[in-house]
C-alpha cells in the first residue's frame, strides 16, 4: 500500500518535470563528444603504429664519386640510429619522375645533364613522434648541406586533427557534464524555493535535513537515470549510424572501429553523470536546507 510518491511534489514543477529531458539531451551530447575523443584517440594510436618515411635530400654535386661517398656515409649514419628501420636511395628513374612536373621531361625539355639532388628515404620505426630536427642535426655532421623533409604531410595533418579532436571531444564532454551539474543545481534550488511550504511542513514533523535532501536526491537520481538512458541510447544510435552507414565509411577519421573497451568507456559516461547529478542534488539541497532554521 506504501506508494512510490515522494513527499515533495517534485514532478509537478515545470522545471523539475523537464529535468529528465535536460539531462537526456546533455547526456546525448556528452556521450557523442566522448565518442569523438575515444575514436580520435584510436586514430592517434593507429597512426603511431604505421611506419613513417622522411626523406634526406643532398644537394647536387659535380663530382659523382664524392657524391656517392656522401650518400653512403649518410646512410651508414642513419641506419646506425635507434628508431630507423632502414634507408633506401631514390633511383635516378624515380627522381626523374618526381621532378618531371616541375622541370620537364629529361632529355626533351631539359638538358639531361642538369644536376639533381640525391634523395635518401628513411623509414622510421613506428613509435612516438620522432624528433626530426635532432635527426637533421645528426645527418648534417656528415653532410652539412643535407635537408630533411617529412614526405608524409597528410599523415601529419591527420594526426594533428586526431589529436585536436581528442582534446576537443574530451573537453566538450567535460563542459557538457559541468553544464548538466549547473542545471541540476539551479533546478534543485528552484524546487527548494517553490516547495518551501512542503519543506517547512516536513521539518515541522521533525524530518532531519538528510530526510528532506533525500527527496531531492531521489528525484534527481530518477531523472538522471531516465534522461541518461534515453540520451545514451540516442547517442549510441547516432554513433552506429555515423560509423557504419555507407556514405561515411570511407573517411579516414572513421576508419577506426571502436574497441570493446571504448564502448565500455562510453557506457561509463551516463553512469558517472547520474552519480554526479545525484550527489549534486543532494549537496545543493543540504546546503539550501542548512540556511533555514
Amino acid at each position: 500500500m506504501a506508494s512510490e510518491a515522494l513527499d515533495l511534489p517534485l514532478d509537478d514543477t515545470p522545471a523539475s518535470r523537464f529535468l529528465a529531458w535536460f539531462i537526456g539531451g546533455l547526456t546525448y551530447l556528452a556521450v557523442l563528444a566522448c565518442a569523438v575523443a575515444v575514436l580520435a584517440q584510436g586514430t592517434v594510436e593507429r597512426l603511431a603504429d604505421t611506419p613513417r618515411i622522411v626523406t634526406v635530400a643532398l644537394p647536387p654535386v659535380d663530382d659523382a664519386a664524392a657524391g656517392e661517398a656522401e650518400v653512403r656515409a649518410v646512410r651508414a649514419l642513419l641506419e646506425g640510429l635507434p628508431g630507423v628501420a632502414y634507408t633506401s636511395l631514390v633511383s635516378k628513374e624515380e627522381l626523374d619522375r618526381l621532378v618531371e612536373p616541375w622541370l620537364g621531361r629529361a632529355g626533351e625539355d631539359r638538358p639531361g645533364e642538369m644536376p639533381l639532388p640525391r634523395l635518401v628515404d628513411v623509414r622510421l620505426l613506428p613509435g612516438p613522434e620522432p624528433d626530426l630536427a635532432a635527426l637533421a642535426e645528426k645527418v648534417r655532421t656528415v653532410a652539412p648541406q643535407a635537408l630533411l623533409e617529412d614526405t608524409s604531410p597528410s599523415h601529419g595533418t591527420l594526426e594533428t586533427l586526431a589529436r585536436r579532436l581528442r582534446w576537443m571531444g574530451g573537453g566538450a564532454g567535460l563542459v557538457v557534464l559541468v553544464l548538466t551539474l549547473v542545471v541540476v543545481v539551479v533546478v534543485t534550488r528552484m524546487s527548494l524555493d517553490l516547495h518551501d511550504e512542503t519543506v517547512d511542513l516536513l521539518r515541522l514533523l521533525g524530518a532531519p535535513d538528510r530526510y528532506v535532501a533525500r527527496q531531492f536526491e531521489l528525484h534527481a537520481m530518477a531523472s538522471a537515470l531516465k534522461g541518461g538512458s534515453i540520451g545514451f541510447t540516442a547517442a549510441l544510435a547516432t554513433l552506429v549510424a555515423l560509423l557504419y552507414l555507407p556514405p561515411l565509411l570511407g573517411h579516414p577519421l572513421f576508419a577506426v572501429e571502436p574497441r570493446p573497451l571504448d564502448w565500455i568507456l562510453l557506457a561509463i559516461v551516463p553512469v558517472l553523470a547520474a552519480l554526479m547529478i545525484t550527489v549534486a542534488a543532494r549537496l545543493t539541497a543540504t546546503i539550501g536546507l542548512a540556511r533555514l532554521r
Partner: protein, 220 residues
C-alpha cells in the same frame, strides 16, 4: 513573538503545561491562539523570552535535537497542511516514515488509524477529493498516529459534525490518559461543557486566565 517585522502579537505569556495535562485554549478570533501554538510546536522562535519544552530551552538546542523534539509533538494545523499530491494513507504515514518506523508496522498502524477515525473508505483518496470535515479528520490522524508526548490541536473540530467532534475529543482524552499533554484550541463552549478540562483564555495576545502561572512557557 512577532510575524516578520510587525508588532508583537503575543505578550506577557507565562505558561507551564505539565506532562500528561489537558488544556483548552480559547479566545476570540485573532487573539493569538494559533500564534501561541506556533511557539509551542517550534514553528517559530520567540522574539523575546524563552520557550522550555521537555525540560530544554528550545532556542539553544541544535538542529538534530530540534528534529527529535519536533517528532515528539503532534500538531493539528488550523489549515490542516496536508500534502495534496499524497494519498490519505501516505499523509498519515508521513510522521512514521520520518521517524524511521519499519514499513510493515507503518502499514498496519496507518490503516488502523484511518479506519478508526472514519476514513476507511478513503485510504487511497487525495486531500482535494475529500470533504473539509474528512480532511480535518485526516489532519488529526496524522497528528496522533505517532503517539506524541505533546499534542497541539488548533480547532480540530471546527469542520466536523458534532458526533465526530465528540469522537475526536474522546480520542484526545484517551491519549491524555496514556500520558500525552494536550493543548486544544477551540471556539466550542459545548465541548468545554462536556469535557471539563482547564481552560487557557487569550485576549489580544495575552493569556488572561492561565491556571498555574509562571513567567515562561514550559512544557513536559
Amino acid at each position: 513573538m512577532r510575524y516578520g517585522s510587525g508588532e508583537e502579537v503575543l505578550r506577557d505569556i507565562g505558561l507551564s503545561i505539565n506532562a500528561g495535562s489537558f488544556h483548552y485554549l480559547m479566545g476570540p478570533s485573532g487573539a493569538g491562539k494559533t500564534s501561541l501554538l506556533r511557539l509551542l510546536s517550534l514553528s517559530q522562535p520567540a522574539s523575546r523570552g524563552t520557550v522550555v519544552l521537555f525540560g530544554r530551552d528550545v532556542a539553544r538546542v541544535d538542529r538534530d535535537e530540534l528534529g527529535r523534539l519536533r517528532r515528539r509533538i503532534g500538531v493539528v494545523f488550523q489549515d490542516f497542511r496536508l500534502l495534496d499530491h499524497l494519498t490519505a494513507f501516505d499523509n498519515v504515514a508521513l510522521p512514521l516514515r520520518i521517524g524511521g518506523a519499519d514499513p510493515e508496522r507503518i502499514s498496519a498502524y496507518v490503516s488502523q488509524m484511518l479506519c478508526w477515525i472514519g476514513l476507511g473508505d478513503f485510504i487511497e483518496a487525495r486531500p482535494p477529493q475529500l470533504s473539509m470535515g474528512q480532511r480535518q479528520l485526516l489532519a488529526v490522524a496524522r497528528a496522533v498516529v505517532g503517539r506524541p508526548d505533546l499534542l497541539l490541536a488548533d480547532e480540530p473540530t471546527s469542520n466536523v459534525d458534532p458526533a465526530r467532534a465528540e469522537r475526536l475529543v474522546h480520542l484526545f482524552a484517551e491519549l491524555h490518559k496514556l500520558g500525552t499533554a494536550v493543548v486544544l484550541a477551540t471556539h466550542s463552549r459545548e465541548l468545554v461543557r462536556r469535557w471539563p478540562f482547564p481552560v487557557l483564555h487569550m485576549e489580544r495576545g495575552r493569556l488572561i486566565r492561565a491556571l498555574p502561572a509562571e513567567p515562561r512557557a514550559a512544557v513536559g
